[in-house]
């Protein structure tokens, strides 16, 4: 339903088809593996076979003898610096003397064919002296064995709010405690990691599947030893990222670039699925100890949290991911007394990093599980309890951030209840579950979230974006931005924003590939920030150009600026739409009047103030909010779970494209449901055992829930047309609401994710035994 105000807009808020749909359907989209250059070599990484140890010897001779092998490079061959750490300098590009996880790259091979490269990689002989490996957070925390000489703590974020936490608990009516654990999640983008590097103009050009071309530029410059201006990164079409192509592709691009630089030939490096699963970063497994105090009236008065995150062998993005954890562990609630510790720990396992939700789905699962326990035990309605504690304008978050604007949380709670038909379904389900002849149990689960927009206090220094718009003399428009399309629909939404501002049609707009030579460093395509950041950067450029077009229109139409309206490719008299001049004619006029229709735009995220010592201040400038309701069905005999339906109400400030926003939510639900009940990465002694798609299993359409998306539009003053981000929020409440629904159906709160059928079956048996015992008594 559109309000009158929204009707003012011609393309914003409309169901515009994806501008990149056709090329992806007809196969003409060029992914990096579709690119080829003359004389190109293929690269393959040689990875550590053990989780922890010293490299005693690397023997390249057998590999080099193989026909078609051009080079085998190791740490000693790096022309620049052997470092790849994005935030902290603790990770080498190629392992030197020591390996810290099974799969850590040690050497890189280039050969004339993929086959030769792969065979040669198997012929690089590495001799190790194994060392004791640290394989879980508890062992890491003890520090009996150190993964790095400086110790095992990657980072430690503290949040201290209110008074003495023990005193606060002593004043609680009831106190609840529980420890939760959660496994890895793999991104499983359809297109595995890949890049292609070549020497051009005495520098390096890299093509590839990236979320953050400017990170890649930096990593290549460091590894090869070139100034940034000699490194050009050109984005290829991306087959999914989900955070997995944030910092990680830099590792591969730097290796390919090094080979290209040394050999002076183009080099392509594409990871196969097994290697991608083994070496690329994952979502952090966590152990989360929660203690929540509640007043008699159902107000949360105290929260104590200790979350231990398995960061793996290197920091990668852990410090920023876990910063976000420290802001979101209490959920979107007002809690006067908070004592939280979020600790990232090194282990001898694969590094963990960015993944849609960025360190929050884990703690949301724990916090929302606690609320489910409280509601069930004290008899509170799950929606009323959440509303009773919800953030609203004027309230303080756990970081004491006073919420000033754009807070639609309560509205999402109300809408989720109504649109899910919760009250009716609850009664139906209670009747269903009371009938012992039924094979299944049904359950409903609720979860609410908030999500800090953009990079926040920990990343403000690179929270900027640039754009370039050029209007050609025939009225067609070229856009260039620094954030990438990775399947999320950025191009379409950004084209809508630009078309709205310029007064042209979406069909007039063409995108230049993201190219670090053309736009200023726009930071990463992460943190659900692209609509807001690149959208605002485009608005900045478009508004300058619109003024020039308007001046031309004033001349042609002989009207004043405030008498002219621009939309759908026409500038016309507000009072008489038959009196108009086309966008194309204005472009032509400007061209022959020598008025430039080419301009740059730039946008910087609002500055925030935050005290890292006690976790108090403004971690982010504004938040998105959401509430989800899940309906699940649990097989009493097999423990199998099916998510039948999810209703998701999201406050996104302004919906730029309702069709894409719904699709984004459906994608988030699919990925969240997989995380909740299916995806189980199995490790043994530091080796991942699920290195294929037949063992690491994600949902298919058969497993998919019916998704109902509902929107709340509490506009953000700093967003383009009021918009906030949705990419990550779409996934964030899913796990918690699904697990709460399973827990409510089964009658016990599940303390480990994924909730596999084996565990549900066991829990149902345990419950039956308990029930039988109490009957005997």
């Amino acid at each position: 339903m559109l309000t009158k105000k929204q009707n003012l807009y011609s393309v914003v808020g409309k169901k515009v088809n994806r501008v990149d749909a056709l090329e992806k359907i007809d196969g003409s989209a060029r992914y990096v593996d579709d690119l080829a250059f003359e004389d190109m070599l293929f690269a393959k990484m040689v990875c550590s076979a053990i989780p922890s140890g010293r490299i005693k010897k690397i023997d390249k001779s057998r590999a080099l003898k193989l026909k078609g092998v051009a080079a085998v490079l190791t740490a000693a061959d790096i022309t620049g610096l052997n470092k790849i750490g994005c935030v902290v300098d603790d990770q080498p590009l190629l392992a030197d003397k020591i390996v810290r996880f099974a799969g850590e790259p040690i050497a890189i091979v280039a050969a004339e064919t993929r086959e030769a490269a792969e065979e040669a990689a198997g012929l690089v002989d590495i001799e190790y002296e194994p060392l004791e490996a640290v394989l879980n957070v508890d062992d890491s925390f003890c520090e009996k064995v150190k993964v790095h000489p400086k110790g095992n703590t990657v980072c430690h974020y503290k949040v201290r709010k209110g008074g003495d936490i023990d005193e606060a608990f002593s004043k609680s009516f009831k106190v609840y405690e529980k420890t939760f654990t959660i496994n890895y999640q793999e991104h499983l983008y359809l297109e595995t990691q890949g890049c292609l590097a070549l020497v051009e103009n005495e520098g390096i050009t890299v093509h590839g599947s990236f979320q953050c071309p400017f990170y890649v530029q930096g990593a290549v410059a460091t590894a090869v030893g070139l100034p940034l201006s000699k490194v050009r990164v050109i984005q290829s079409v991306v087959g999914g990222g989900f955070g997995g192509k944030e910092d990680v592709p830099s590792e591969y691009a730097a290796k390919a670039a090094l080979l290209a630089f040394v050999l002076k030939r183009p080099v392509k490096l594409i990871l196969d699925r097994a290697q991608d699963l083994m070496v690329s970063s994952k979502r952090h497994p966590m152990k989360m100890e929660y203690k929540v105090g509640v007043t008699k009236k159902g107000k949360i008065n105290a929260l104590k949290v200790r979350a231990l995150a398995d960061s793996g062998a290197y920091t990668t993005l852990s410090t920023v991911v876990l910063f976000r954890t420290s802001v979101h562990f209490g959920g979107p609630y007002v809690i006067p007394n908070v004592c939280g510790d979020v600790i990232g720990l090194y282990t001898n396992r694969v590094p963990c990093g960015a993944y849609r939700g960025f360190g929050t789905p884990q703690v949301i699962y724990a916090m929302e599980s606690m609320i489910n326990i409280i509601c069930n035990d004290m008899g509170f309605d799950p929606f009323e309890f959440r509303k009773n504690n919800a953030l609203k304008k004027g309230a303080l978050s756990i970081n004491s951030h006073k919420i000033k604007e754009s807070c639609g949380l309560i509205e999402t709670i109300d809408k989720a209840r109504k649109e899910s038909d919760y009250d009716k379904r609850k009664k139906e389900f209670d009747r269903w579950n009371a009938d012992e002849s039924k094979r299944t149990l049904k359950g409903l689960g609720v979860s609410s979230i908030f999500y800090g927009m953009n990079l926040g206090a920990k990343g403000w220094f690179f929270d900027k974006a640039g754009s370039h718009i050029q209007i050609c003399r025939d009225g067609s428009v070229t856009l260039c931005v620094g954030n990438v399309e990775m399947g999320q629909g950025a191009k379409t939404v950004l084209a809508q924003i630009a078309a709205e501002a310029l007064g042209c049609q979406v069909g007039d707009i063409n995108f230049t590939n993201v190219d670090t030579n053309i736009v200023p460093d726009s930071g990463p395509t992460v943190a659900s920030r692209t609509t807001v950041m690149s959208g605002n950067a485009l608005l900045d450029a478009a508004n300058k150009l619109r003024k020039k077009l308007m001046n031309a229109a004033v001349e042609v139409l002989k009207l004043k600026v405030n008498q002219i309206m621009a939309k759908h490719g026409k500038f016309y008299n507000i009072k008489d739409s038959h009196q108009f001049v086309t966008f194309a004619d204005l472009a032509k006029k400007c061209y022959f009047d020598n008025v430039s229709l080419s301009d740059m735009g730039y946008y910087v995220s609002p500055k925030v103030e935050y005290d890292m010592q006690n976790g108090q201040g403004e971690p982010y400038y504004v938040y998105s909010y959401a509430t989800a309701v899940s309906e699940v069905e649990v097989d009493k005999k097999t423990g199998e779970v099916h998510v039948n339906k999810m209703t998701c109400a999201h406050d996104v400030g302004r919906v730029i494209n309702p069709m894409l926003a719904s699709a984004q939510i459906e994608g988030g639900v699919a990925q969240g449901v997989g995380y909740a009940i299916m995806e189980n990465m199995v490790s043994e002694k530091g080796h991942i055992k699920t290195l294929g798609l037949s063992t690491y299993v994600i949902p298919t359409t058969r497993d998919f829930a019916e998704v109902k998306s509902v929107f709340v539009e509490d506009k953000s003053k700093d967003g383009p047309y009021g918009a906030k981000g949705l990419g990550e929020p779409s996934l964030m409440p899913v796990v918690a609401s699904v697990v709460n629904a399973i827990s409510n159906a089964a009658g016990c709160q599940f303390d480990h994710v994924p909730v596999l059928p084996e565990r549900v079956w066991e829990a149902l048996n345990e419950k039956k035994m308990r029930d039988d015992e109490s009957e005997v008594r």
Binding site: E115, E118, E119, T638, M678, T695, V697, T700, R702, D703
Partner: protein, 291 residues
Amino acid sequence: MLRNFKVLTPSSLNETLYIINNIEQPYRFLCGGTDVLVRMKDNPGFVKVLIDISKISELAKIEEHKSTFVIGAGVRHETILGCSHFIDNYNGLIEAVAAIGSPQIRAIATLGGNIGNASPAGDSIAALMAFDAEIELRSIDSNRIIRLEDFFTGPGKTVLKNNEIITKIILPKFEGYKSGWKRLGQRRALTISKVSAALAISVSKRPNGSFKVNDIKIALGAVAPTVIRARGAEKFLLETPNFNRAAIEQACVLASKEARPITDVRSNAEYRSEMCGVLLGDLIERVNVFE
């Protein structure tokens, strides 16, 4: 990555038999390729020669005889699903074959391939074993027919000799039987079974209204080194004087005990055992024997 291998493409079964009688390098047959190509990618050294038998028409026939159906080893799953004989009389086979892989896999993968791959989780194997299927193995100078159950010796291991090929699957005709197949996987489709069960059962009603099992065959998948028959449960039900819900429950317990599963990345041993009984109970219920 596939590399360092050669492909031979015999144009007849005889030529194939000649080749495998004389070949010295490790080889595998290529028909659908849905298992062998995946294995070669994971382990490029394991086979040096592929013998492409996908074009050999003698292997792709389905014939009806007086008391049997004979299915060529190269018959594709999709073909089985389109065959009315099977739809009408071998529901368990249809259910199993329809659940194998994806439409793309079923369009190219073959019944002989699923058997030759000898996975303890092989879905068509469990269904075929519940129909007492036999297979024909041929070499240049021999032709033997063995029970499918006797073909497997362990995961990926069979009694097939290096100069032999599976040519036919022989299904006895079943009249008055009801059959079914069911599995549990990590998801609803496109998945490898973590437990599966197949059932063929013939039941008659006595004049006094009680039921008697005339014949029953139960196969269990992914719960032992090979697909197994649950002989204990079968025997119990055959001998039970009164085939009723209590007897079924007891048979389910017996089936669970016959399983010898392992714990691996897909599931754990205890759950697998228990689920054998659950699946058997579900199948008996589903085929509606008391009708």
